[in-house]
């Protein structure tokens, strides 16, 4: 009792000093720096081993380019020290290693096909990485709190749909190997706006579901042990289904369609906790895919290549399973420990540096290397889920899980296609594959996850 009186007697002078930040040691950032140094060492080691294996000598130019990536990620780390001190310490090192291994593999294929200078995909990939990390820094500086994105839910949805259909605009869109998902950007090459669209759509789905999930989850009739939604609540899922079906028909891209629809389905399941949505969505998509495989030639071809890959007739056919089977041969050649950097022949497979980079890596690093890469993806995605799990607001939860899941699903679609688990569809392997738009998109996802994890940790546990 006495202490209470003393306390109230002493309180006459209010605290007037300006609000300073309490100095606490940045344990998380120091851990991140340590992991980043190891990551940079791994990346440098990969480039050096490629040169030793493929050239038999050390050529200093690309080691310098590799160092460029390290300088960039360290600058991102310094930015984090100031604007997101409590962000997750594992996301940045994992993304760095994946990006660096990708550059090393692309460089290795450049050596095999004798590309150099601006023609070299590795140089372009490094420049794109620089641009992508710069975009990530901008995102971290501009978006100081993820709840800002909640205000732009519908704008994000509109932007996502526009970006998705941008390649269909005549004169702007460009068709490469059958799929029309690129736009040409002057002399700098091509850009795949659909990659950026997946971020915009994740923001839109999160915002939309947080606003409307009650009507999607609470009402409806019970049937066969699961609660099914009312007919009028089916609107959103039908719209997204129509969207992904039109991607299959007009852009002729199975993978992108599956990616968006899967993203929506998972976020819908998260928001409502109802299995009936997943059952309905999956049957809708499977139905659409089966019809597409009967009517659209290219989808039918993909299914034939998948089911009957080792048939010589299919193997030799134009647009047949040659690429898929070459990738499998490469993986088989790699065995447990691989042929070693620069000592395999991944260049035999068509597009070994983008869609098939995982087969190229499997050939040169073996099963041990592929599993290491998959473990890195697993950790990256698990961090994203963890951030969503720890989040206090529903929008942040949904967004974090959505962004992490889109990376996971993309990995599954590409790697599953290359390893003949599912029909092959062209998507980029996140962070690894050659392709600027994919790098930019995935680094922005990494930046958003970093921002989300910082706000989650920084929120007071309790306000009295």
């Amino acid at each position: 009792m006495q202490s209470l009186n003393k306390a109230s007697a002493l309180q006459t002078q209010p605290a007037t000093e300006p609000v300073r930040r309490l100095h606490l040691p940045q344990k998380l950032r120091n851990l991140e720096l340590f992991l980043l140094l190891i990551a940079s060492f791994i990346n440098a080691g990969a480039v050096v081993l490629v040169q030793l294996g493929a050239l038999g000598e050390l050529d200093p130019t690309l080691v310098l380019l590799g160092a460029g990536l390290s300088v960039l990620v360290i600058s991102l780390h310094v930015v984090l020290r100031f604007v997101a001190r409590d962000a997750d310490p594992f996301i940045l090192p994992i993304a760095t290693v994946l990006n660096g291994i990708g550059i090393a593999m692309i460089y290795r294929i450049d050596i095999a096909v004798d590309d150099s200078g601006w023609e070299s995909a590795a140089v372009r990939q490094t420049v794109w990485s620089a641009l992508a990390i710069f975009c990530a820094i901008i995102v971290l500086l501009v978006i100081r709190n993820h709840r800002v994105l909640f205000r732009y839910t519908y704008i994000a949805g509109l932007v996502g749909v526009l970006l998705l259909f941008l390649p269909l605009v005549p004169g702007l869109g460009k068709e490469i190997s059958g799929a029309r998902v690129w736009i040409s950007v002057g002399s700098f090459g091509t850009f795949q706006p659909g990659e950026i669209a997946k971020i915009a759509l994740a923001v839109f789905f999160a915002g939309y579901l947080v606003r409307n999930r009650d009507s999607l989850s609470m009402v409806g009739k019970k049937f066969l042990g699961a609660r099914f939604p009312r007919f009028r609540d089916l609107g959103p899922i039908l719209v997204v289904w129509a969207l992904s079906m039109s991607v299959i028909i007009f852009q002729r891209d199975l993978g992108t369609a599956l990616l968006y629809f899967g993203l929506f389905l998972v976020m819908l399941y998260l928001a409502t906790g109802r299995l009936s949505w997943v059952i309905m969505g999956m049957s809708l998509f499977l139905g659409g895919a089966v019809i597409a495989s009967q009517t659209l030639n290219y989808v039918n071809g993909r299914f034939t290549n998948w089911l009957d890959a080792l048939n010589p007739a299919v193997y030799d056919a134009k647009g047949g399973s040659f690429q898929l089977v070459q990738g499998l041969f490469g993986l088989a050649k790699g065995g447990l420990l691989g042929t070693g950097w620069g000592q395999g022949r991944p260049e035999i497979t068509p597009v070994p540096q983008s869609d098939y980079i995982i087969a190229s890596l499997g050939e040169e690093l073996g099963l041990a290397g592929i599993f290491a890469i998959l473990a890195l993806y697993l950790l990256f995605v698990a961090r994203g889920f963890r951030i969503g799990f720890a989040g206090q607001d529903d929008f942040g939860k949904l967004l974090a899980v959505g962004l992490a899941f889109v990376v996971a699903l993309q990995c599954f679609i590409v790697i599953g296609g290359v390893t003949r688990v599912i029909p092959l569809t062209g998507l980029t392997t996140p962070f690894l594959a050659a392709g600027g738009s994919s790098l930019v998109a995935n680094w922005i996802i990494a930046a958003l996850l970093l921002r989300l994890s910082d706000t989650v940790r920084n929120q007071p546990r309790l306000v009295v």
């Binding site: 309180q11 000093e17 000598e57 309790l462």
Partner: protein
């Protein structure tokens, strides 16, 4: 081609080992996330022993170095709050009496500023008032030079002080306890 096959083989295996060490390094760093906080086993056997130890050991050592600390930790037979035996912080009086939140191993900062872990917005609280942190696995209460002081079991905290389980910490009009 002056690099021997053997060198390349060693380098190749070395690279894979490095990659896997990186992965296991990350997994080791986030082990508490994956497997949860360490659980104290054999509660019934350890508890009396622990209280006996805490009664015997800290008092002389504390008195030898800093007399106020020894005086401030009021009942030496009460069990000290450590990271193992403490799981939550419970508000016992004030506007939010009865609420609680789980304690991890992170430092808990208390104050009026919104970057604190426990934000107390009343007239008695300073911007950065106090903090709770783990020192050698024991929860310590440190007053951050607050205007109105932090009180542990009725006496004002001037130096970082060990907290006993269920001892009342009073900041302004709010008091809380660390509990199992």
């Amino acid at each position: 081609m002056n690099v021997s096959e053997l060198t390349l083989l060693v380098l190749r295996i070395g690279f894979l080992l490095l990659l896997w060490m990186f992965i296991f390094g990350i997994v080791y760093a986030l082990r508490s996330d994956l497997f949860g906080q360490r659980v104290r086993k054999m509660k019934t056997d350890v508890a009396p022993a622990a209280s006996a130890v805490s009664a015997a050991v800290p008092v002389p050592s504390a008195e030898a170095f800093t007399a106020p600390v020894a005086r401030a930790s009021p009942t030496t037979d009460a069990e000290l709050a450590t990271s193992q035996n403490t799981t939550r912080l419970v508000i016992t009086s004030g506007p939010k009496a009865g609420t609680e939140f789980p304690l991890g191993t992170d430092t808990i900062t208390i104050g009026r500023s919104s970057d604190s872990s426990l934000v107390i917005r009343d007239d008695y609280t300073s911007t950065h008032h106090a903090r709770l942190m783990l020192w050698n696995d024991e929860w310590m209460l440190q007053d951050l030079d607050s205007t109105n002081g932090t009180f542990l079991a009725g006496s004002r905290v001037t130096v970082p002080t060990k907290i006993s389980l269920n001892a009342t910490v009073k900041i302004g009009a709010t008091s809380f306890e660390l509990r199992r």
